[in-house]
Symmetry: C2
Subunit: 284 residues, 2 copies
């Protein structure tokens, strides 16, 4: 389901040397950076970073940050980090903004498996000497705080078991809450933030059967008509290229009747464009 | 700081055989059960359980449950489980009661290190196919739910770093909340449920310096004048015998001017009494 095209065999020492060469002297060979890093898995990228450190006593991440710029730099920086560290950075940047990007927090909390979310929370503590829930709680208030803190703190049960009786009773609770427009209803927050994904699917299916309409619509509006949200675009492509970006591409095409590659090609340019298209699986 | 007296060397096969003998035929040799299990560490108890299973194709825990009874049975059952499994059982029993024992949930959430609490949450999921936070949320409402769900869900930062400026500002928030008797104040819940223990100590110290009184008093009222809360007594002794029961004994004596052993001796009897005193470190 990944779009990333990476070789099974590669020499991380040769890769480190090639990256050193790409960064040496005036200017940077961005194409070389893309052709290497855009075709390496998370594990391979860590080996390259380690080899680079050993060969040149310098952090590859810092070097690239000083060589690259703009949206391309941001995308490469997020890409090169280990997934949990990357999400910790994304979460921290999102919550520390003057107007926090709450949807980034929701995305991190909901897209991951329980164990992956736990890894992000551990990475966050290592980097920031605070817990993720602590920072989220300190930068939010009211119902939003209730929802977000619970979403990032929960270790959902990950098993396949569902309780049909519970699905019925909680579908009723959701129906009542939606009818009465009580969207801040504590019970709604409780259900959404504590039940397992399997149980929630059962509840949502039950709701759909009872009410005739689906309770959820997954809306990804990273690319809008006017202007591009580069942060969101980078985030989705970088975090999903090794996971399920192929599926996202398919859904995107079905919804929009243009391919995600076409949309990216139209709304971005230069090295940033080339890098995203590489991660989307385009042949060099 | 533990009170448990356990041999460095022991044969878990011999222990398993001795326990089998103690349970065989009519009646049970409770003294033998106490003299073995009351002197074995958590790791040793697990080895004995495994050896018993291999020797007799029977679960020692189930066998003991059928042989023993009352408060003694409960105490032995809790004692023989691995600490995380034991806390999962304690939490489940507490939250499923018609009138839930909320203080048990608070105790489990607050006494443990962040990693220990996480181990309890994992054990809970394995045993009950639901998350701890899910069950706590489903059996509580209102402010109590907010507090308890947050307490069991948090993975507090465990480092020693403190932020003095933050301690001052959050001590002020606590002072305001207490003055205005707004004990359900969202900010109070946020501070107590997300900050690291080191940061909370700094905040509480700051509060004491500013207000002249201490914000916390640790009150253990497991043994009251009239009647004994056997569940609480068992819980404290069984869960702390290998950790810090020695310190608890000292604090108990300072507060009550009788030793914890004297209080236990006065308020309990029989095998239950003998077992608790063994875990309290009394020589056989």
């Amino acid at each position: 389901m990944a779009t990333l095209v990476a070789p099974v065999q590669h020499s991380h020492i040769e890769d480190a040397k090639a990256l050193y060469k790409a960064c040496k002297g005036w200017g940077t060979d961005e194409k070389a950076v893309i052709s290497i890093l855009g075709h390496r898995t998370a594990a391979q990228r860590q080996q390259i970073r380690l080899a680079y450190q050993n060969l040149y006593q310098e952090d590859l991440v810092k070097r690239l940050e000083s060589e690259l710029s703009g949206a391309f730099e941001k995308a490469v920086y997020r890409w090169i980090l280990e997934p949990a560290d990357r999400d910790a950075v994304l979460a921290n940047v999102a919550i520390k903004k003057a107007c926090p990007d709450y949807h980034v927090i929701i995305e991190i909390a909901c897209v991951h498996s329980p164990e992956e979310l736990l890894a992000v929370r551990r990475a966050y503590q290592l980097s920031y000497k605070l817990s993720l829930e602590e920072d989220v709680a300190a930068h939010t208030t009211g119902d939003l705080r209730k929802l977000l803190v619970a979403l990032v703190s929960v270790l959902r049960y990950d098993g396949p078991e569902i309780n049909a009786r519970l699905a019925k009773s909680e579908a009723d609770i959701l129906e009542d809450a939606i009818k009465n427009k009580a969207f801040n209803h504590e019970e709604v927050i409780r259900i959404l933030t504590t039940r397992s994904k399997a149980q929630l699917m059962a509840t949502f299916n039950r709701y759909r059967d009872d009410c005739g309409t689906s309770i959820t619509k997954i809306i990804r509006n990273a690319i809008k008509g006017a202007g591009t949200d580069e942060d969101a675009l980078t985030r989705v492509i970088v975090t999903r290229a090794e996971k399920d970006l192929k599926v996202i591409k398919e859904v995107y095409y079905k919804r929009n009747s243009v391919t995600l590659e076409q949309a990216v090609a139209k709304d971005t340019s230069g090295d940033y464009n080339a890098f995203l298209l590489t991660l989307l699986g385009k042949a060099d």
